[in-house]
């Protein structure tokens, strides 16, 4: 189980990660982009938990804990970002 | 094998960072590009030395660890500089070294005053509130 399936689960989660990033590129609003960062954070935590088990390294779980602890400060910094020049148009 | 893959990734990141550094004029973009190049160097430092006991060599690990912290502090300083620059000159761009128009402009600048192609922003606008 650990040997055979976990790496494939990791690959699957990573593919999800990449697919979700398309939203950060397309936008169209700043909120969408921040939302992708949020999704990226949650999925990365899942990825780290899987890796901790796969590689047999429990320290990686502390990394995941740190990520969830501090991931919010980016959203806090983003909140209320004023309107800026090119906001809203598709890129 | 996986080391080789990550060396290629580091090379790509370094190249992308170099491109961004050369092509962009906004200071923050240049900073982002510089940080990318830095990450590529960190990656190389960890991946290239032979692992010891299943772990990357501890000496470069220590170097990179301090490097990460130093990088964020210098970035913070550079960002403070950028905000000041923006307040002073009204935009946060510095001319790209690659643009022939800028070369011409510089030459003209040194001869007879400000460069008209910069929309007068460099010289006209003073310190904004």
């Amino acid at each position: 189980m650990t040997e055979t399936i976990l790496p494939w689960a990791i690959v699957f989660v990573m593919v999800n990660l990449v697919a979700g990033l398309s939203r950060a590129w397309k936008g169209p609003t700043d909120g969408d982009r921040m939302l992708t960062a949020l999704l990226f954070g949650t999925t990365t935590v899942a990825l780290l938990l899987l890796m901790a088990e796969w590689l047999g390294r429990p320290e990686i779980r502390i990394v995941a804990l740190l990520l969830v602890l501090l991931a919010t400060i980016v959203s806090l910094a983003f909140f209320g970002m004023p309107e800026h020049g090119e906001n809203g148009d598709d890129g | 094998m996986s080391a080789a893959i990550l060396v290629f990734a580091a090379a790509a990141i370094f190249g992308i960072g170099a491109y961004g550094l050369l092509i962009s004029r906004h200071v923050m973009r240049k900073l982002l590009a510089l940080n990318l190049m830095l990450s590529a160097v960190f990656l190389l430092l960890i991946v290239v030395p032979a692992p010891i006991g299943g772990q990357p060599d501890p000496v470069p690990q220590a170097l990179v660890l301090t490097g990460i912290v130093i990088a964020v502090s210098t970035t913070a300083f550079a960002l403070a500089l950028m905000v000041r620059l923006f307040g002073k000159q009204g935009h946060a761009s510095i001319p790209s070294d690659l643009d022939p128009r800028v070369w011409r402009g510089r030459w003209r600048n040194s001869r007879d005053g400000p460069d008209p192609e910069r929309n007068g922003a460099g010289a006209a606008s003073g310190d904004k509130p």
């Binding site: 055979t4 979700g20 999704l39 909140f79 | -």
Partner: protein, 122 residues
């Protein structure tokens, strides 16, 4: 994606350790499914509010299932507690982030008109 040979191990169904593995596998697959659902919502839904709604819930459920699976595999109460803490914090983080992003987006485009505008069928 799963290796079928690992599953039909006949001893696995009798042996409690094998049973735990099986439950862990089921949870893992379910977790992957919900993460996938979150990604699909992220890519396909029409506007920020819908995406927020879909993504935060599906992803956190996926994370819960994955954490449960990993806790079963690791098998120690300490790890299980740590994973539970990680999940609770992730829940808190995405609650606050989603709230902030939604609030931010609402000052830009009022939800009613914004949703109607960007809905594909109208």
């Amino acid at each position: 994606m799963a290796d079928p040979a690992a599953l039909v191990d006949p001893a696995g169904l009798v042996d409690p350790a094998g049973l735990v593995d099986l439950v862990a596998l089921a949870l893992l697959l379910a977790g992957c499914f919900f993460i996938f659902a979150g990604t699909v919502g992220m890519v396909r839904l029409p506007d920020v509010f819908c995406r927020l709604h879909a993504m935060t819930k599906a992803d956190n459920l996926g994370l819960l299932l994955l954490s449960l699976s990993m806790a079963l595999l690791a098998g120690t109460p300490r790890t299980a507690l740590l994973l539970l803490l990680v999940w609770l914090l992730a829940l808190l983080a995405s609650t606050v982030s989603a709230h902030l992003i939604a609030r931010h987006a609402r000052t830009r485009l009022p939800p009613a008109s914004g949703t109607r505008e960007s809905e594909p069928e109208s």
